[in-house]
């Protein structure tokens, strides 16, 4: 009886990971700085979207939709403010708010600790993010933005690979349960 209760209890249990003080702020700042800094020295690094990976990771780990939404919004707006003139404030903000919400909602329902799951989820989130950006550009800004290109496909794969490695590093910032 007790075993059955425990099993049922563990199925319903949602583990919310907590992080060391300042981990989210530091990781966000680091990702934004790297995102702006790396492409100067390695032009190919522009394919990465580190702020998106940070939103996905903390969304999946915190598993709180309102926190994910807020984090996505803040990171997105910060990224907007560091971007060029074709990116008005709010473009990435919208995209990353959606991703923050989705990631934290999905994180509460799926096992997101396995590298394969993380890989697949990052590709899916990257595609959704690009879809939201393209939709926003087309509908609100009247800017021609492709839904999908080969470059975006490669970018999704590269970001997913980097995400698997980055998430392992970020796991170390968790507070031991």
């Amino acid at each position: 009886m007790n075993d059955a209760f425990d099993i049922r209890g563990s199925e319903l249990h949602i583990e919310v990971h907590k992080f060391r003080a300042g981990a989210i702020i530091l990781a966000t700042a680091f990702a934004l700085v790297l995102q702006a800094f790396l492409p100067i020295y390695f032009s190919k690094a522009a394919i990465l979207d580190l702020p998106l990976l940070i939103v996905i990771y903390f969304g999946l780990s915190r598993r709180n939709p309102s926190t994910g939404l807020l984090l996505g919004m803040v990171i997105g707006i910060l990224q907007d403010s560091l971007s060029g003139p074709t990116v008005p404030l709010g473009l990435y903000g919208i995209g990353k708010t959606v991703i923050g919400y989705l990631a934290s909602s999905i994180g509460a329902r799926l096992d997101t600790e396995h590298p394969a799951a993380r890989f697949a989820l990052t590709i899916a989130f990257f595609a959704v993010h690009q879809g939201v950006i393209a939709l926003t550009r087309r509908l609100l800004l009247s800017q021609p933005e492709p839904w999908f290109t080969m470059h975006l496909g490669i970018a999704a794969l590269v970001n997913a690979v980097v995400a698997v490695l980055l998430f392992m590093l970020l796991d170390r910032l968790r507070k031991p349960s």
Binding site: D80, P85, V87
Partner: protein, 289 residues
Amino acid sequence: MLLQVLLLAVQIKRDSQGRLIRVWTVGAVSPFERAGAHGISHIRDTWKHYFALQNAWRDNEELKRENGALKLQITQLQSKAGEADRLAVLLKFRQTNVDVPMVSARVIGGSADSTSQTIYLDRGERDGIRRNMGVITPDGVVGKVIESYKDTAQVLLLTDKDSGVGAMLVDSRVQKPVGGTGEPLLVMKYISNEDNSVNPGDRIVTSGMDRIFPRDLPVGTIADIKAGSTFKQIRVRPAANLERLEEVFVLLTMKPLEMKKDSPEPNSATPPAGGPSAAAASPASHEKP
């Protein structure tokens, strides 16, 4: 004792000197001696080699550390030498154009998104940088300032799809705009399909008509030409290395300028060896009256 005395007596009596006994004794003892000696030698060798190996390991570690430090030093020196070379080029350019108000700046960041081609400089309003000021390197045009903050400025690179510059072909003096596409190569617009005066390898310079850049600054070289529906599709390789920018100059005036040049365009595919091209790019034609 008695036996020994007897033995001595036998030896004195005979010349054999007790050989058999010696043989037996030696035969009996020598295996132990050998084993002992071998053992001791082995132990001694092991002991010696252990320490020797330990020393070798220590030496190896030390050499590795030293090697690493030297490699780092070489990298730092190469980096410094590269920086010194770049700064020397910048200084020479600055000295050549001493009358032109400009300020040097270091590139400190890029765009946080992959769709726009922008960079951040470590100088801003405090240094007199304002919006729409031109940004160049000794190699050629880089872009223009689109935002100026207190100590930072954002520059739209020539390769951005919203970017453009008033340009002119060095040979034919035909003036047409050159713009970015978001890719490493630029495009020259509005050259009709019937115009046969444009060829791959032709050099393009600023026309000065945009009132941002002075005339005759290198913009790039025509990489390839394809026929389009009405106009030719002309792709231009930028003169400045826009993918690896570290130091640039910001032109601190919006007024038209004339720049002096003491050397031909470094990245140009066709060196000015006489003809109208050379005449257009010669120092004499750029000096102030």
